[in-house]
């Protein structure tokens, strides 16, 4: 079966996000007052797997082995067939 995984890599809560802070400043310069702003990386990955469980497990391995760094990141995975 062919599956599509949507993987979101974000900073763990409480981690300093200097880029998000700079973007928030830039929005303020444009006149938008914001109280929160977080950024994240989004990956759409297509691959073959036996079933949805295997697809989810493979996507999790991809996060653990490359896409995320456990020191600062958390990730979420949504798999669709």
């Amino acid at each position: 079966m062919h599956y599509q995984a949507k993987i979101t890599i974000a900073l763990k809560e409480g981690m300093l996000d200097p880029e998000a802070r700079a973007i928030q400043h830039a929005l303020a310069n444009l006149g938008y007052k914001t109280d929160t702003l977080t950024s994240a990386k989004l990956f759409f990955i297509g691959f073959e797997a036996k079933d949805v469980q295997e697809a989810e497990a493979m996507a999790a391995k991809m996060c653990e082995r490359l896409l995320a760094n456990p020191v600062i990141h958390q990730y979420t995975i949504e798999v669709s067939g």
Partner: protein, 234 residues
Amino acid sequence: MKFAVIQFGGSNCDRDAEYVLSEICGVDTDLVWFKSRLDPSYDAVIIPGGFSYGDYLRAGAIAARTPVMADIVRHAEKGKLVLGICNGAQILDESGLIPGMFTINAYPKFICRPVHLRVETTDSPFTSLYRKGEVVGIPIAHKEGRYVAPEQICRDLERDDRITFRFCTPDGEVTPESNPNGSAGNITGILSGKRNVMAMMPHPERASEEILGSKDGEKIFLSMIRHIERNEAK
């Protein structure tokens, strides 16, 4: 005795490191293209600064997962020396040889300037020629150099005397003002558990000749050479 300086696509301090080792320190040094893998005969490996793989995903993340890095991990497991400078330090943390990680600076811009570092330990193959507490001038040049690690890791590093350099004032005081990138505990040089791998953000190869304003970085390379000579004599 032979040193290898690894070249990834995007490395840009490779020739500087090779020049300092061969011309200033007088040691046999090869530039090793990452696709050629690592010959096991090398005594020490330098992973130089630069922008391997264009810093895609995270600085050092992709280079850390190349076959030559698997060779370097094996080289390190044998107790041989590995020094990662700047992008090399990021590659070492991404490959798991060093705990924690170097991530985007607290103020997210590229910083390139001389800084002061306090030598925290001389009990390592990389810092044995310094004096403990000595203040040295070695420049930094990075956008992703803020050291981050869980508190427990920082405590373990401290307990095990594995911190080699901290950012400090010219008088050797470790203060928030002397921390250019927001690193945890001003830490910018770390040893592996076996003390044969060191990751550091500052560039000692840019501070190894008087003409460049500082010779303070040269002692890192000379310490490594002395360590290897002593091991050979055993």
